[in-house]
C-alpha cells in the first residue's frame, strides 16, 4: 500500500514535469532561435543549439522596422492604458461595491452582459468613429477604448467588496469627505488588488492585436504584435525571416513572462490567475 502510493506520487511528478516541459519548450525555443538564422531554424531536423545570428537579427529588425520605436510605441500605449483603465475601474468598482445608488444594479448587469458580446461587434463602429475623428495611427485612438475595461471593473468590484464599511463610517464621523476616504483609506488598503488589476491590463494591452491591426497602418506607429504579423506576411516576396520573428518574441514575450512570474510571486497569486481576460 505504502509503496503503491510512493510509485503513484513519482508517476504524478513525472506527468506534471512532462506538462511543464511542453509549456516551457516554446519559450526556450524563442530564446535559442533568436540567435539562429533561417537555415538553422527551418533547415530540417531538431536544432536547439545557440547560433551566432543574434546581432544580425537585431540589425535586420532595426533597419526594417525601427524596432526601438516599436517597443516605445507598445510601452507608451500599455502604460497609459494601464493607468487610465486601472484608475477608472478602481473608482467604478469601489462605487458599485460600497454605495447604493440609483441604477447601480443596472450598471453592473450591463457591464456583465457586455463582457459576453464579441469584440467584433464593437470593432467596426469603433474604427468608423475613430477614423472620422482622425485618430487612426495615433496613440489616443488605441488608448481610448481600453479605458472602460469591463473585466477590471468587475475584478475591482469583487475586491472592493472586502473593504470594510466600518472604516468608511469611522472616517465619516471624523469628518472626512467621501473622496478623502477613497484616496487615503480605500486605495492604500486595496493597493495589492489594484496592482494585480493593473498588471493584467498591462499584459492585455501589450498583447492586443486585432484593434491595433485595424487602427495602426503606418510602420512607425506599429506595436510589437503588428511587427510579428508583418514579418510573417512578408509582402515583399522575400522568404519569411524566422530569426527576426524569434528575436522579436525573445525580446517582447520573455520580459512579459518574467513580469508575470514576479507579479505572481509578489501579489495576490491566486487572484492574478483566477481573474484573467
Amino acid at each position: 500500500m505504502k509503496r503503491n502510493n510512493r510509485g503513484r506520487q513519482i508517476f504524478s511528478y513525472f506527468l506534471l514535469a512532462v506538462g511543464a516541459f511542453i509549456f516551457i519548450l516554446p519559450y526556450f525555443y524563442m530564446i535559442v532561435a533568436s540567435t539562429q538564422d533561417n537555415a538553422q531554424i527551418i533547415g530540417g531536423g531538431v536544432n536547439f543549439k545557440f547560433g551566432d545570428s543574434f546581432m544580425d537579427n537585431l540589425h535586420w529588425l532595426l533597419e526594417r522596422y525601427d524596432y526601438v520605436r516599436v517597443i516605445i510605441n507598445s510601452i507608451i500605449i500599455a502604460v497609459v492604458s494601464t493607468i487610465l483603465a486601472t484608475v477608472s475601474s478602481t473608482m467604478v468598482g469601489y462605487a458599485l461595491a460600497k454605495y447604493k445608488f440609483k441604477g447601480d444594479k443596472l450598471l453592473f448587469n450591463t457591464i456583465m452582459v457586455s463582457r459576453m458580446v464579441p469584440f467584433f461587434t464593437t470593432l467596426i463602429p469603433l474604427f468608423y468613429i475613430m477614423s472620422r475623428m482622425g485618430l487612426t495611427n495615433t496613440y489616443t485612438g488605441i488608448i481610448i477604448p481600453s479605458i472602460a475595461s469591463t473585466t477590471s471593473a468587475f475584478m475591482m468590484k469583487q475586491y472592493a467588496t472586502q473593504f470594510p464599511t466600518s472604516l468608511m463610517e469611522a472616517a465619516r464621523i471624523d469628518g472626512a469627505s467621501e473622496w478623502m476616504i477613497f484616496r487615503k483609506i480605500a486605495v492604500p488598503i486595496l493597493m495589492p488588488s489594484i496592482v494585480t488589476t493593473g498588471l493584467l491590463v498591462f499584459m492585455g494591452s501589450w498583447n492586443q492585436y486585432l484593434y491595433p491591426l485595424v487602427m495602426l497602418t503606418r510602420g512607425d506607429m506599429y506595436t510589437v504584435p503588428l511587427v510579428i504579423k508583418n514579418i510573417t506576411t512578408s509582402s515583399t516576396g522575400d522568404p519569411i525571416n524566422y530569426g527576426g520573428i524569434m528575436f522579436v518574441l525573445a525580446t517582447s514575450v520573455i520580459p512579459m513572462v518574467l513580469i508575470y512570474m514576479v507579479g505572481q510571486a509578489k501579489f495576490k497569486a491566486t487572484d492574478l490567475d483566477a481573474a484573467d481576460k
Binding site: F23, Y29, Y94, L210
Partner: protein
C-alpha cells in the same frame, strides 16, 4: 453637508458614488454601448459614401455566400476538436496538482499559466515555425521514423495544427480554474469514499466530475464564446487567405476581410451579429443540457 452627517445610510452618499462611477461610465457608453448599438444598426444598412437602409439584405447576402457557411463549419470543426480535449487535459492536470502528496503546486501552476499571459500572436508565430515543412515538428517525426506532414497546407492537417495550438494555449487557464474548483471540494468527501472502498477512478467519476460540473460547464461556455471569435491564430497562420479547399477560413477572419479588405461595413456588421446570435444559442444549449436543474437558468 450637515444632513449627510446625521444620516449615514449608504443612499445619502449617492452623489459621491456617481462621481466615482462617472469616468468609467462615460467611456463605457462611448466605446462599448454606443458601438454595440451602432453595429446593430449598421447591419441593416449599406454603407459607402452614403448610408442606405436595406432591411435584411445584408443577412440574406451573407447566408447566400458559401464562404460564410464554410467559415462557420471550419470554426466548429476546430472547436469540436480542441474544446473537449482541452477540458479533459486541464481537468487531468488539475487533479494531479490537487493531490495532497504533490509539492511545488505553485511552481507548476505558474508554469502552466504562462501561455495565458502570452500574446496569441506570439504563440501562433512560434507554432507556425514549428509547423514549417522543414520545421521542428517534422524534424521530430523524421527522428521517430514517421512520414512528414503538410501541417499548414493540407486541408485536413491545417485544422489539426490549429487544434494543437489552441489546446496548448488553453490548458493552463482552465487547469488553474479547475484547480480552484477542486480545492473547494472538502477532502473529507474523498476520505469517506475511500473508507467505503471506492478506488481513485471511481472517486473521480462519482465525486469529482459531479461536483465540478458547474465549473466545467462555465469553462466550456467561455471557451466556446472565445473560440467562435477566433482570429489571431488563423490570421497569423494563413493571413486572410481561405486556405486550400476553403478549409482555413473562420468567421473572425471572414468578418475582418469583409470589413477591412472589401470595405463592406454593413455586411461585416451582419456577420458580427450572427456571431452574437450563435454564441447566445450555444451558451443557452450548453447550460440547458449541461447543467443540473437548479443551474439551468
Amino acid at each position: 453637508m450637515k444632513k449627510v452627517k446625521r444620516k449615514p445610510g449608504l443612499k445619502t452618499y449617492a452623489k459621491s458614488a456617481y462621481g466615482f462611477a462617472a469616468p468609467f461610465f462615460v467611456f463605457f457608453v462611448v466605446t462599448i454601448l454606443i458601438p454595440v448599438i451602432v453595429s446593430f444598426v449598421f447591419s441593416f444598412m449599406q454603407i459607402g459614401s452614403t448610408f442606405k437602409f436595406v432591411g435584411l439584405q445584408n443577412y440574406i447576402d451573407i447566408f447566400k455566400d458559401p464562404l460564410f457557411l464554410q467559415s462557420y463549419i471550419n470554426i466548429f470543426i476546430i472547436m469540436i476538436g480542441y474544446i473537449p480535449i482541452t477540458m479533459l487535459l486541464s481537468l487531468f492536470f488539475a487533479v494531479l496538482l490537487n493531490s495532497p502528496h504533490i509539492h511545488g503546486k505553485g511552481f507548476f501552476r505558474t508554469i502552466y499559466y504562462i501561455p495565458t499571459v502570452t500574446s496569441t500572436v506570439a504563440v501562433a508565430s512560434v507554432f507556425m515555425t514549428f509547423f514549417n515543412p522543414t520545421g521542428l515538428f517534422n524534424g521530430v517525426l523524421e527522428m521517430l521514423g514517421l512520414p512528414e506532414v503538410q501541417w499548414l497546407t493540407d486541408p485536413v492537417w491545417l485544422r489539426v495544427s490549429m487544434i494543437i495550438t489552441e489546446i496548448w494555449i488553453n490548458i493552463g487557464y482552465n487547469a488553474v480554474l479547475f484547480l480552484a474548483g477542486l480545492q473547494s471540494i472538502p477532502r473529507m468527501v474523498y476520505e469517506s469514499a475511500e473508507i467505503d472502498g471506492a478506488g481513485k477512478i471511481k472517486q473521480f467519476f462519482t465525486i469529482t466530475i459531479p461536483l465540478m460540473k458547474p465549473v466545467i460547464l462555465m469553462a466550456t461556455v467561455l471557451a466556446t464564446i472565445n473560440g467562435l471569435g477566433s482570429f489571431n491564430i488563423p490570421n497569423i497562420f494563413f493571413g486572410t487567405s481561405n486556405g486550400p479547399e476553403n478549409a482555413a477560413i473562420v468567421v473572425g477572419v471572414n468578418l475582418y476581410k469583409t470589413s477591412f479588405e472589401l470595405v463592406d461595413f454593413g455586411k461585416a456588421s451582419a456577420i458580427a451579429w450572427t456571431m452574437v446570435f450563435v454564441a447566445a444559442v450555444l451558451s443557452f444549449v450548453q447550460f440547458k443540457f449541461g447543467g443540473n436543474d437548479d443551474e439551468a437558468e
